[in-house]
Symmetry: C2
Subunit: 363 residues, 2 copies
């Protein structure tokens, strides 16, 4: 199908940013992966080339009709100096699920995963190793046909770009204040909330800006039908510790099936905790907060891994969770999951794969 | 703000396509309008330049987070050889409403409308004049900041491109079969259905493809909350003639406020017909079809202007409307609205504006 992978190495490597000030998604590495699709021909011309701009026709469908999907994953370098991927096959599986929903042709998952490994090897000197840092990986596909018509594009471009990212919690785990959005809706069952597609993020910006303006750092989204079931927090899945159980909203059709969510459920159960996936209403959370049984809350996602929630603002009321401090179970999950991802502890789940050993990394 | 408009004329005009085979949105004219936005600086560098590709960084936010909006409008050349715009200020008003919802900075509507007129003058030889043909106008804005972070972009590009389009109904008004979508949802109240943003169109492609596959040409969308209120048909607003009244769904928060919809309501009332804007359920339509009072149905939008509906398929049942023929009121609205847009009849509503008179057009 896509033939063999061609590699064109850059002749001029870029200076590396200061790893103490990486921030998120600002710096891109030296190379990128690209592959094209044309109806009748399939995916073809897979190659790794120097990172740089792509010429786009102003009539390209992505600009007008939004057919695009993406993934977010990370490569980690821990104490042993090896570079590891965390459950990457899950991301490419989800990539293809998103493709199906958005009428984008599916990719060959194992071919692209192999290409990603080659890309990271070529740019391995960009993988930061300080605690909390990692190489963020962004596979994406866009509709490229030049035609003003709202039907599926006849051509696409799939790319992978890489960005070294800094520690999300520069000063340790920090509980955030979140705001329950009661006007805007991120996604609805029957819509595209289960797909990792651009439109979901554009739709959420207004509420996010309003939450910032009111002193909150994230939005807690409610479902679009009943406006009472909790769905996600910002771009993360959400978990609550109620007494000695952990509860997370079940995948309702409008929630992204997070890979950190799935890993967290497995790891928490492995710790011996009871985890329930079920519909969760904002009213019951408020009641649990009042009677003192809402002990912890946190978001999960590739970017922050685990993000403790210290306070929820809803309809003018606010309720603190766990006294506004990071909960014990939240911290344990964060510590263990990040250590496993970096290869600093044994991987009893088989989730990580070394793709560059320390010797080649230093080389 | 954006300073004065610079114009760089092409040195090599493209050959024109055969006006008998224009199709829709395939050919672009010789020039395009572009303008840039940067936070702190505002919109700037407004210019008309030769049509051509724009270099985009792979990390540009539009590809990942979908902040983009567009408009669709037309310029017409009728029997008198003048070139006219139809209510263009309404499109730029809606452009800015879409901007606000999508956290994109608003444009100076009158400046951009003026720039559009200059652009059309420069490319006036591209405006086709055969009945049913027109120059399609596509203003749009995209997020251009190179940053992998799901918050509003700090830079944008706004463009206008032009495309001569053929007659929608090559062989006269043709009633279509439409399929009531019961699984997928286009938009939900609280979402972005009221904004003309790319994600809405990507979300609707799967259902559209399924409808095609089942022999229908458009989807009839139901609301995302109750799944019973009729919203739009394909990318058009929808109207029903029930006995001697005309009914169209009221703007519910998830319906695009169509300019053809508004013009149709005004013109139908001017004809002396009663028009109601109110919630319409699919059940009542089915009942009206059964008792013989659902006499006509049609979609309205810039592309087709008026599109008669001859048959509705819903949950395995189908019901014919008006014997599957184009209704009398539908045809009258189509004939009169298109004639007014082309300047072939008197414009008693003040909706059209001549922007190039026949002399300059021939020149
Ligand atoms: C909307 C949304 N929800 C949840 C998540 C978490 O998914 P994952 O754990 O796979 O990163 C993401 C992505 O990071 C997301 O974009
Ligand atoms: C979703 C949708 N509904 C309705 C319409 C009709 O709007 P207008 O009459 O302004 O073209 C359009 C645009 O053409 C649309 O994209």
């Amino acid at each position: 199908m896509q033939g063999e992978l061609k590699i064109q190495e850059t002749t001029q490597r870029k200076p590396k940013p200061d790893t103490a000030n990486l921030s998120f998604g600002v710096y891109m590495t030296d190379h990128m992966f690209t592959m094209d699709y044309k109806k009748g021909e399939g995916w073809h011309d897979a190659k790794i080339v120097p990172y740089g701009p792509i010429p786009m026709d102003p009539a390209a469908k992505v600009f007008h009709y939004g057919q695009t999907i993406f993934e977010g994953m990370k490569a980690y370098m821990g104490e042993d100096g090896d570079i590891r991927l965390f459950r990457p096959e899950k991301n490419f599986e989800r990539f293809n699920r998103s493709c199906r929903r958005m009428s984008i042709p599916e990719i060959d998952e194992s071919f692209v995963l192999q290409a990603l490994k080659e890309l990271i090897k070529l740019d391995r000197s960009w993988v930061p190793s300080a605690p909390g840092t990692s190489l963020y990986i962004r596979p994406f596909a866009i509709a490229t046909e030049n035609h003003l018509g709202a039907n599926p594009s006849l051509s696409y471009k799939m790319m992978i770009i890489l960005s070294p990212v800094g520690a999300y919690y520069a000063e340790g785990l920090n509980p955030v204040r979140i705001h329950v959005e009661t006007r805007d809706v991120r996604a609805v069952a029957g819509g595209v909330g289960e797909a990792k597609t651009a439109g979901n993020y554009a739709a959420s910006m207004q509420a996010q800006e309003n939450a910032y303006g009111a002193g909150y750092s994230q939005v807690l989204w409610l479902d679009g039908v009943h406006r009472k079931y909790v769905e996600e927090v910002g771009s993360m899945n959400v978990f609550f510790r109620i007494g000695d159980r952990i509860v997370t909203p079940s995948l309702s059709g409008s929630i992204l099936n997070g890979i950190t969510r799935d890993s967290s459920i497995q790891m928490l159960r492995d710790f011996g905790f009871e985890v329930e996936e079920r519909p969760v209403t904002i009213d019951e959370l408020s009641a649990f907060a009042e009677d003192g049984t809402l002990l912890e809350a946190f978001g999960t996602g590739t970017a922050a891994v685990v993000s403790p929630i210290g306070e929820i603002g809803w309809n003018g009321k606010t309720f603190k969770i766990g006294g506004g401090e990071t909960g014990e179970w939240t911290r344990r999950l964060y510590d263990e999951l990040t250590a496993l991802q970096r290869g600093d502890i044994e991987d009893r789940f088989g989730w990580t794969e070394v793709i560059c050993s320390a010797e080649t990394t230093q080389g």
